[in-house]
């Protein structure tokens, strides 16, 4: 065996190497074309999810943010306020605990917890399994609370209609510029914890400007989920998105 590249020395074909060989032996290296996206499998499964969701007229939201932006509170408030209007199902992704799922179980909606362990994002296959476990019959809106992380989940299509990215006032106005890939994929950006803006000297204009630079077509809503400020605009959007989905099979986006 060649000590530099590990190739078998018993073969009978010479070829060029990028490294220097200080010995003579024969190689039989060959190049095999693959030309495949690493995310191909996820993409296929996500399309399968999307097809199933569309057949059921089910509106699906993928909710993303850094840890502690208020995703769970935002979802909890949405469920409690509008659960007379819509039948919700919830899938929650967390690294370790089921704390968020426990909190959401105070609502009427069935909740499935995916504990991802070391995996820092949700994938389409996990959503497929969780959907089967949840049972999608009779649901109008499925909310997926992704793992708190502004980087990794951006790469994985889950089959959702709408990507909602939360940005809380405690995080700083420049987050959209620091994590452009996540914000570029956003259909809706929710500025949360707006009730803390004054004490944090949060500049809403600057934050909006940064979001618009990165995601010019995203809808931006400023809310405080905890204090119930500005949430009615979100509920209006949700009702419209759900209506669009049932009428056309496509979401607003």
């Amino acid at each position: 065996m060649c000590g530099q590249c590990g190739c078998d020395t018993t073969e009978t074909l010479k070829h060029e190497h990028e490294h220097e060989h200080h010995h003579h032996h024969r190689h039989n290296h060959r190049l095999v074309d693959i030309q495949q996206s690493v995310l191909h499998k996820n993409h296929t499964l996500a399309q399968g999810n999307r097809q199933e969701f569309t057949q059921r007229n089910l509106l699906v939201l993928n909710i993303l943010s850094s840890p502690g932006s208020g995703k769970t509170t935002f979802i909890e408030k949405t469920l409690k306020t509008t659960e007379q209007q819509f039948n919700y199902g919830v899938i929650v992704g967390d690294l370790a605990t089921d704390n968020d799922a426990q909190r959401l179980r105070s609502t009427k909606a069935p909740v499935i917890q995916i504990t991802t362990g070391d995996i820092c994002h949700l994938e389409a296959s996990m959503i497929k399994n969780a959907s089967d476990e949840l049972g999608l019959d009779g649901l109008d809106i499925l909310i997926i609370e992704n793992v708190g992380n502004l980087v990794c989940p951006a790469a994985y299509d889950l089959g959702e209609d709408i990507r909602v990215v939360l940005l809380s006032t405690t995080e700083g106005e420049d987050k959209p510029l620091k994590y452009p890939t996540m914000f570029k994929g956003a259909d809706v950006v929710i500025i949360n914890k707006i009730d803390l803006a004054e004490v944090l000297e949060w500049q809403e204009d600057l934050a909006r400007e940064n979001i618009q630079k990165i995601a010019p077509n995203a809808l931006i809503l400023a809310v405080s989920a905890r204090k119930d400020t500005g949430m009615s605009a979100w509920y209006d959007y949700l009702a419209k998105a759900r209506q669009a989905k049932t009428q056309t099979g496509y979401s607003l986006v």
């Binding site: 590249c5 590990g6 190739c7 078998d8 690493v38 790469a155 890939t181 630079k213 010019p216």
Partner: protein
Amino acid sequence: MHEISLMEETLTIILETAQKENAVKIHRLNMRIGAVSGVVPEALQFAFDVTTQGTIAADAQLNIELVPTLCHCTECNRKFAPIDIIYQCECGSLNNKIIQGKEIEIVSLEIS
């Protein structure tokens, strides 16, 4: 650090290919990684070194071709390479589609 997950998926694909080709060793893996794919090449290299241990790709080289971002302006119909993270076309528009730069691709495999 989803590079580990991506590399595990990559490894599944390349080991399957190697098996089909009756290969005994993988020497080099060629990949294309887009500038806005969300993948950090150094993290992918680290994941490659870790996940290939104990496999026929253990001593292989990972070769990453970086793919620059390219946008298509929906206002003036031009293709342009953005100069920063704010994808503004020369015509001033911010409305565009990313047509290149999201790639996370396995290109080819050198085996014996």
